[in-house]
């Protein structure tokens, strides 16, 4: 189900990953994301098609739109799913306490809105294309009490943390804000997102949008490189589902080594620039 956007392009993309049919709701009022209008469109679609589950990404938009749609339908809503199975009944797996434990949930309503955490599933390409069917969502004339006036890109980070395949994070070991560029350079060489511990965000060295942990972002990339991060429990919660973890820290007793697959007990100022060079060699 596509709301706004280019139906033909979306049908080609969705078809590539196995969709047979794309419903498309268009109209000038749907050109830019709006919670009220998009929620109205999706609720109308669910009433017409009665899906068991309405899946969407647990992105900034999905976290806004999912509950909105569920509230309009009076149905169950599940955020940040990392597993989904149907065996007579639906069961969705999701992390709670930022990944310190997991829960399997199901629901008693006819439909459920389920947000899928970015990177949680492998995208398997299948040759195919989806046919397009226009859907009149009845949003023409619907007014919204909140309207987006402008959008501004943030400075710095080019890769979004929660969607990145590789994350390089820095902690207190970087000693000062001027040294965060060591982390950014290694991240750039890997095409990675740059993350940070709560300690250096609270110290004002790095913007909050970089924070990984229970009070920041939860990430699960293929590779997580922790530089000068001791591994407080609330930080580990936010990154321990990463597939491969590297720890670089002077303190051999740091808890980060307990969750790491590879560890280097050394000063990050010695290792990180050298690693940046080595990655450059491999990548070229």
């Amino acid at each position: 189900m596509l709301v706004g956007g280019d139906a033909n392009a979306a049908a080609a993309e969705a078809g590539k990953y196995g969709a047979d049919k794309l419903f498309a709701a268009g109209g000038d009022e749907l050109a830019v994301y709006n919670s009220e209008l998009y929620g109205t469109a999706l609720a109308a679609f669910c009433r017409a098609q009665s899906p068991d589950v309405l899946l969407m990404g647990s992105t900034a938009m999905g976290k806004d739109l999912g509950p909105k749609t569920a509230a309009k339908l009076g149905c169950a809503c599940v955020s940040d799913a990392v597993g989904l199975k149907f065996d007579g009944a639906w069961e969705v797996r999701r992390p709670v306490f930022a990944g310190k434990c997991f829960t399997d949930v199901t629901w008693s309503t006819a439909t459920a809105v389920v947000g899928i955490r970015p990177n949680a599933f492998v995208m398997a390409e299948k040759a195919g294309s989806a046919t397009v069917e226009n859907f009149d969502a009845g949003t023409a004339g619907v007014t919204s009490k909140a309207v987006v006036k402008s959008v501004a890109a943030s400075s710095g980070g080019t890769v979004e943390l929660t969607e990145a395949e590789i994350v390089v994070s820095g902690g207190r070991g970087i000693k000062g804000p001027e040294n965060y560029e060591l982390i950014e350079k290694l991240a750039a060489s890997l095409g990675a997102a740059a993350g940070a511990s709560r300690a250096i965000v609270d110290a004002g060295w790095v913007e909050y949008s970089h924070q990984v942990g229970q009070t920041g972002k939860t990430v699960g990339p293929n590779l997580y490189i922790a530089c000068g991060i001791s591994g407080a429990i609330q930080h580990l919660a936010g990154m321990s589902s990463s597939k491969c973890i590297v720890a670089i820290n002077k303190d051999a007793a740091a808890p980060i080594f307990k969750v790491a697959d590879y560890g280097v007990v050394a000063d990050l100022f010695d290792i990180v620039p050298a690693l940046t060079d080595e990655v450059g060699k491999i990548r070229s």
Binding site: G39, A60, D64, P95, K149, E160, E163, A237, V265, E278
Partner: protein, 259 residues
């Protein structure tokens, strides 16, 4: 202006959770419980609006057992909220956010508020749905993940965090906002103010008092520890940093195949 702040008491972020076997619910009896850190931004923002002048009343609303009173007193009333409402229904303990939103919306409708503030999510169940669900049930505007707020006369302008940037959103009042880190720096309560907070009104209501039934839509099948078992950490000899970096890069490329 009347402001409602919807808060939750949660286990502290340093809490360790070890489940020996899958369980239907978590035994939280030994946990240190605190105000949900994101709700602290909501409380602080409400108090800042009150301090900016005009006739402003701030009410903290929560659901939970008697133990939430301590958090309400210390982290809400002692820092400047005027009163608190606790929805003390056993059915709401461990309930999903649709149920919580229904109960809190009933209090908000009963008392009438111009602005409703809450955190972007509670750090225990991490769902982050409450604010949006409240807005829909109350037929109010909402802006989620707010990092900056300017209140106008009958309207507001808010900055909202999105992937790789921010949106500037205009909304009419009444409205629900979910508060993100960066919005403000929550203050700490002073000892005299904690003492005085005991004098502020704290109302306890049940769902029956509010004339509502709690909708149960989500069912927890089980809770369990993370399924990823990790092997030993492979330590790389760091005698020579350049050689260590080379070896690490080689392992990540050839063995782990992640770069």
């Amino acid at each position: 202006m009347k402001i409602a702040v919807c808060v939750k008491q949660v286990p502290d972020s340093e809490t360790r959770i070890n489940l020996a076997a899958p369980a239907a619910q978590l035994d939280e009896s030994g946990f240190t419980r605190v105000l949900n850190p994101y709700d602290a931004y909501a409380v602080e923002e409400a108090i800042k609006i009150k301090e900016a002048g005009g006739e402003v009343e701030v009410t903290a609303i929560t659901a939970g057992p008697a133990a939430v009173k301590e958090t309400l007193k210390k982290d809400c009333l002692a820092v400047g909220c005027d009163k608190a409402v606790i929805i003390t229904d056993p059915e709401l303990i461990g309930a999903d956010e649709m149920a919580l939103a229904t109960a809190m919306a009933a209090v908000i409708k009963r008392d009438g508020y111009d602005l409703v503030l809450t955190g972007i999510k509670a750090i225990d169940n991490d769902s982050g749905q409450l604010g949006v669900l409240l807005a829909e049930q109350l037929d109010m505007a909402h802006v989620s993940t707010v990092t900056k707020l300017d209140l106008g006369d009958g309207n507001l302008t808010a900055e909202r965090e999105i992937e790789g940037g921010k949106e500037i959103v205009e909304a009419s009042l009444p409205a629900v906002l979910t508060c993100q880190k960066g919005l403000n720096e929550p203050r700490l309560p002073s000892l005299p103010n904690i003492m005085k907070a005991g004098m502020k009104p704290m109302e306890e209501v049940s769902c029956a008092d509010l004339g509502i039934e709690v909708p149960a839509s989500l069912v927890t099948v089980k809770l369990y520890s993370p399924p990823h078992a990790r092997g030993e950490c492979k330590l790389i000899d760091a005698e020579d940093p350049a050689a260590a970096a080379r070896e690490l890069a080689r392992l990540l490329n050839e063995e782990a195949k992640v770069i």
